[in-house]
Symmetry: C2
Amino acid sequence: MVSFESFVQTDGAPIYLQIIRHIKQGIAAGTVSDGEEMPSRRVLSALLGVNPNTVQKAYRLLEEEGLITSHSGAKSYLSLTEEKVAAVRTELMEGVVRTLVGAVKGMGVSREEALSLLEKLWDEEVR
Amino acid sequence: MVSFESFVQTDGAPIYLQIIRHIKQGIAAGTVSDGEEMPSRRVLSALLGVNPNTVQKAYRLLEEEGLITSHSGAKSYLSLTEEKVAAVRTELMEGVVRTLVGAVKGMGVSREEALSLLEKLWDEEVR
DNA sequence: AGAACTGTACTATGCTTATAATACAGTTAG
DNA sequence: CTAACTGTATTATAAGCATAGTACAGTTCT
């Protein structure tokens, strides 16, 4: 069963996008695998404290991307291949790089400053 | 005059927050300084192709933060001190690094991998 | 003084996000 | 079989974001 234990909703992004990203991160990390069972819409909405429609929106988009399969009445499962996993990993990595590079280009940040701050915040930012 | 030449609106964030971040990045980078003149609401909205009300919202929040001063009828100016600049710099850096750390942790990247990834991306993309 | 700018305020409309409350049909476990 | 789950769909409400248009008073410059 795909876990949402480490899910944190501190982001400014829409909830349904955070849910999608969380699942994609699990895919990229290899902590979830093909054929694994997804939490039902109702169960996950209760777990996260959000509306079932919000979870449904995330699941619908994930199905449109071909990452999960859903059939009316039955449970939903992850549908992964090596190609899909690689694509997800690339997508997430590119997002990280774009964010980082865009930010440091905007402000004058030294390489050492970035590295030391990364070390400092690494242990504070878990959950 | 504060420049918006390098402003790009590719972010998923609200426009008024992107405007605020752009100005804060200029402050952190030292490319803008205390007393410098801000573009008028109407001029900047035309330049960015957004609504004047959107720029006004960004400017109002910046004034509430004490980073600019506005008086009815007159132009707006940056109001900076060393303390404010340092605070802006810290705020931006923490946001960036928290995003980076959160992302790579979700993807199952270790602390050492994250540090080496940052070093690698830095050398490839910034230099 | 007058024209052209400035900040500021207000109303109205539309879209996206998120919630709430249902409803119905298919699947599955006891 | 039946009850409890599942996915899916619908309608309604509310907030935030962005737009459009208008208005008014203060300032700046010639």
